[in-house]
């Protein structure tokens, strides 16, 4: 298989995730788009690991999965807190720190 097949798939998923994170209004959807970005990075790590015949890519992908789990836990807690205080999770309405 060509290395570029995997890299192009990952690049496409990354860009779709960037679009979702920028264009979505609901904060849970933004968190889901960030998961898409992290997943694209994982595909890259494992493809490069197989390319270089080393297991380090898989190890780093596992670390990325652990960090993603922690990120989602804290992120959803923050979203719930925002919902409890403001009764909305629209990111357009969370502008208390706007200058």
């Amino acid at each position: 298989m060509l290395l570029n097949e995997f890299l192009f798939l990952a690049a496409f998923l990354f860009c779709v995730g960037v679009y979702g994170a920028l264009a979505r209004k609901n904060s849970v959807l933004v968190l889901m788009s960030i998961e898409l970005i992290l997943n694209a990075v994982n595909i890259n790590l494992i493809a490069f690991g197989a390319f270089q015949n080393t297991v380090a890519g898989q190890v780093f992908a596992l670390f990325v999965i652990a960090v993603a789990a922690a990120e989602v836990g804290v992120g959803l807690a923050i979203v719930l807190l925002i919902y409890r205080n403001r009764h909305s999770i629209d990111l357009d309405k969370v502008d208390a720190m706007r200058g």
Partner: protein
Amino acid sequence: MPTLALVHNLNVAQQIVFAALALAMALSALRMVTTRNLVHSALYLTVVLAGAAGIYILLAAEFVAITQVLVYIGAIVVLMLFGLFLTRAPLGDKQELDNNQRWLAAVIALFLFGLLGVTLQRGYRGTHVNATVLTNGGSNTAAVGISIFHDYVIPFEVASILLLAALVGAVVIARRD
């Protein structure tokens, strides 16, 4: 030579599986960021994550694939759905989920994809990758385990501290007091 024919058949099979997975993942990802139904978005995300698990198996990273299914599909997607339900998100098809900078975001994403595509095409055109078992007589899972507890012990411990901190932090932030 029979082995050559076998390798060729294996390559064709890998290509077919990769094409099917990649097509499903790309379409699901696009639908995920464009659909107007929140729960459908989470389900499309599930399809993308399962496809990524298939890609990992294609690259002989079976342990990461299993972990992907367990952690991403089993835990993270369920957490996302809980987040959607707990925030009483509107569950219909009609509401507007995009903000008014959607076209700017599309331009940025397209520009980024063009940039990445040109770079990848220049850097890795024609480079082949073959997924192999890395240890003699063992599996890649064994190699990953040895590597984590041999070369990457300190990052592993730091990751466990991070997970503990995230656990405590999530409880403290979301607690009602």
